[in-house]
C-alpha cells in the first residue's frame, strides 16, 4: 500500500513528461468504471468512448461558455453524460450478448457523427479548442504538476468508490448476475435494474475521466468519441484481468505509457498493439487455468 502511494506521488517525476502521468490516471479511472460493467456484470459495451467524450465536451463547453469553476464544469459534463447513458443503457439491455454490444456501438457511432456534424458546438473534427484551466480556489491549475495532483485526488476517490461498490451487496449481485442471469432472477434480483445501474455507474467514471481530460489537454479532440478509444478501454480490462479492479487500473496505466513509448520509437506501433490485443484475448481467458489444471491432473 505504501509502495503504491509513493509510486503515485512520484509518478509525474518518473515519467518523461507530467501530462503523461495525468493521462495514465485518467484512463485508469475509466478502467475502474468499465471493469464494473464488463468485468463484474459481464456486459460488453463497445461504445464507452461516448461517455468519455461527452464528459469531455460537456466540461469543455461549460468552461468556455459558462465560465464556471473547474469542479462544476466536470459535474456538468458528468450529468450530461449520465443523461445520455441512461436511455442507451435502458434500450441496449433489452438484448443480450452480441446484440447488446452492437447496440452500444451503434449509439456511440451516432454520437460520434452528431459531434462531427455539429461544428458550431463541438468544432467538428477540428475539436474544441481553447478550454481554459480556471483556478480551483487559491490553487492555480495551469501548472501541469498541480493538475496532476488534482487528478490524483479524483483517482483516489474513484478507487475508493470503485472498491466500495464491488465489495458491497450490489457488487455481489452484479457478479451473481454475470454468472447466471436466470438464477439471479429467481433469487429476487431484478436483472434489468442491476444492469442499467451498473451501466450508468460505469458511464459516470468515464465521464469524470473525460472532464479531467478536457482540463489536461485544454482541448477536446473528436477522437475522444471514437471506436478506437472504446477498443482501447476494452483492451485494458482484458489485459488487466477482468473482474479484479486493480488489474484493469494497472493495465490502463501501462497501456497509456506503452503507447506513448512505442509511438516515439517506432512507426509500426499499431501492429504491436494489434498483436498484443490478439495475444491477450487468446491467453487471458478464464479457461486457461482450468485447462492447465485439468491437463496436469490427467497426466
Amino acid at each position: 500500500m505504501i509502495l503504491a502511494a509513493l509510486f503515485l506521488l512520484l509518478l509525474p517525476f518518473i515519467t518523461s513528461f507530467k501530462a503523461l502521468a495525468s493521462q495514465m490516471l485518467i484512463f485508469a479511472i475509466i478502467a475502474i468504471g468499465y471493469d464494473i460493467v464488463f468485468g463484474y456484470t459481464g456486459l460488453l459495451s463497445l461504445g464507452h468512448a461516448a461517455f468519455f467524450g461527452i464528459g469531455a465536451y460537456g466540461t469543455g463547453l461549460s468552461l468556455i461558455h459558462l465560465s464556471v469553476p473547474a469542479l462544476l464544469a466536470i459535474l456538468i459534463g458528468i450529468i450530461i453524460s449520465l443523461l445520455v447513458a441512461f436511455p442507451i443503457g435502458y434500450l441496449a439491455i433489452r438484448r443480450r450478448g452480441i446484440y447488446f454490444a452492437m447496440t452500444t456501438m451503434a449509439f456511440a457511432q451516432m454520437i460520434y457523427f452528431i459531434a462531427f456534424k455539429w461544428r458550431a458546438l463541438t468544432g467538428g473534427d477540428d475539436g474544441l479548442h481553447g478550454v481554459p484551466r480556471p483556478h480551483w480556489g487559491p490553487i492555480d491549475l495551469s501548472s501541469e504538476l498541480t493538475l496532476y495532483y488534482f487528478i490524483l485526488f479524483f483517482f483516489i476517490v474513484s478507487v475508493i468508490v470503485g472498491v466500495r461498490i464491488v465489495n458491497s451487496p450490489f457488487g455481489k449481485a452484479l457478479e451473481c448476475l454475470r454468472e447466471n442471469e436466470d438464477r439471479a432472477r429467481s433469487i429476487g434480483f431484478s436483472p434489468a435494474r442491476l444492469k442499467i445501474l451498473s451501466f450508468v455507474i460505469s458511464a459516470f467514471f468515464a465521464a469524470l475521466a473525460g472532464g479531467l481530460y478536457a482540463l489536461l489537454q485544454n482541448f477536446v479532440p473528436l477522437f475522444t468519441l471514437s471506436l478506437d478509444i472504446s477498443g482501447d478501454i476494452v483492451l485494458m480490462i482484458l489485459i488487466g484481468g477482468k473482474g479484479t479492479l486493480y488489474g484493469p487500473i494497472m493495465a490502463a496505466m501501462a497501456l497509456v505509457f506503452l503507447k506513448n513509448l512505442l509511438s516515439s520509437s517506432t512507426n509500426i506501433w499499431p501492429l504491436f498493439l494489434g498483436l498484443l490485443f490478439v495475444i491477450s484475448v487468446m491467453t487471458f481467458r478464464q479457461g486457461i487455468f482450468k485447462e492447465l489444471k485439468e491437463r496436469l491432473l490427467k497426466v
Partner: protein
C-alpha cells in the same frame, strides 16, 4: 421531381448494394453458423483486393485469374485463422471471439501497411471490361454492370448451395444445433472450419471485385464493415435471403440519403441499425431467440 434522375441514382445504388451483399453473405454465414462476430471481415475483404493487386500487377496475370485464385487464397487464410485461433474460443462467451477478430483486424491492416506501404496501390478497371454501356436512361460503366450481374449470380449460387446441397444441409443443421449435429456424426469442427473459410472467400471475392472501383488501401475494409454488419443484422443473422434483401435495401437507402439528406446518410446507417436491434433483433428473415 426529376424521376429520371432518381431512377438513375437508384439503379446506380444497385452497385453499392451488390458490394454490401457480397460482404454480408460471408458475414451472415459465419455469424449464423459459428456465432462469431467476425470483425476481421473487412480486413479479409481488403486482403482479397491486395491479393488481386499482387496477382494482376506483380505477377502479370489476367484479371479473370485473380477472380478465381484470390478468393481461394483468402479462404485459406480464413481457414488457418479459424483452425488456430478462433476455434479455441468457441467454448467461451461470444465476446471473446468478437474481441479476437477485432484484434486480428488491426493486425492484418497494419501488416499490409508494412508490406505494401500505407498509401494504397493503383488498380484500374481491366481493359476488357472498360467503357460504358448505354442503358437508354443512363450511361453505366461496363464494369459496374459486371458487378451487379456477378453478385446476382453469386447470391443465387450461395443460396442454392446452402439450401439444396447436402453440405449446405449440414451447415444448416450445425447452425440450428451444433451439439446435436455433432452427436449425429457430422464432424462439426471441420464443418465450422469450412464455413469460416467459405465466408472468408466470399469476402475476399468482394475485395477483388471492388478493387478496380475503390481505392485499394489498408483502410478499405473499415469503411464497409459497419455497413456490412447493419446489413446482416437487418437481414437476419444466418439468413442468406435476408442478407440479399437487406443488402439491396441498405444500398438504396444510402443512395436515397445521398440525394435528399446529403451527409446525414452515414448517420442513417447507425440509426437504422439501432432501431432494428431494439425493435426486432432477428431482422427481416432471421430466426427468433438467436441472441435475445
Amino acid at each position: 421531381m426529376d424521376y429520371h434522375f432518381i431512377f438513375m441514382h437508384l439503379f446506380n445504388g444497385l452497385i453499392l448494394g451488390s458490394i454490401y451483399i457480397l460482404l454480408s453473405l460471408g458475414l451472415t454465414v459465419i455469424l449464423g453458423t459459428l456465432g462469431v462476430v467476425n470483425f476481421a471481415h473487412g480486413a479479409l475483404y481488403m486482403l482479397g483486393a491486395y491479393a488481386a493487386y499482387s496477382v494482376v500487377k506483380l505477377f502479370g496475370l489476367h484479371f479473370v485469374v485473380a477472380i478465381v485464385i484470390c478468393p481461394v487464397i483468402v479462404g485459406v487464410i480464413g481457414i488457418l485463422l479459424e483452425k488456430f485461433l478462433i476455434s479455441k474460443l468457441y467454448k467461451l462467451p461470444h465476446y471473446y471471439n468478437l474481441l479476437l477478430t477485432f484484434g486480428i483486424m488491426f493486425f492484418i491492416q497494419d501488416a499490409i501497411k508494412i508490406i505494401y506501404g500505407p498509401q494504397g496501390v493503383p488498380f484500374n478497371i481491366p481493359r476488357f471490361l472498360g467503357g460504358s454501356v448505354d442503358l437508354g436512361f443512363m450511361l453505366l460503366p461496363k464494369y459496374r454492370l459486371f458487378i451487379i450481374l456477378l453478385t446476382g449470380f453469386l447470391s443465387l449460387g450461395v443460396w442454392l448451395f446452402i439450401d439444396k446441397t447436402k453440405l449446405g444441409a449440414i451447415i444448416r443443421a450445425g447452425t440450428d444445433d451444433s451439439e446435436m449435429a455433432d452427436a449425429l456424426g457430422t464432424n462439426i469442427s471441420r464443418t465450422f472450419t469450412l464455413v469460416f473459410g467459405l465466408g472468408a472467400a466470399l469476402s475476399g471475392l468482394a475485395g477483388v471485385i471492388a478493387a478496380p472501383v475503390q481505392d485499394v488501401g489498408p483502410q478499405m475494409g473499415m469503411n464497409f464493415l459497419t455497413g456490412a454488419f447493419v446489413v446482416v443484422i437487418v437481414g437476419g443473422m444466418g439468413s442468406i435471403g435476408g442478407s440479399i434483401l437487406s443488402g439491396l435495401i441498405i444500398g438504396e437507402l444510402i443512395t436515397l440519403g445521398i440525394i435528399f439528406w446529403g451527409p446525414v446518410s452515414t448517420t442513417l446507417i447507425y440509426v437504422f441499425m439501432a432501431i432494428v436491434l431494439i425493435i426486432r433483433p432477428r431482422g427481416l428473415m432471421g430466426r427468433a431467440a438467436f441472441f435475445e
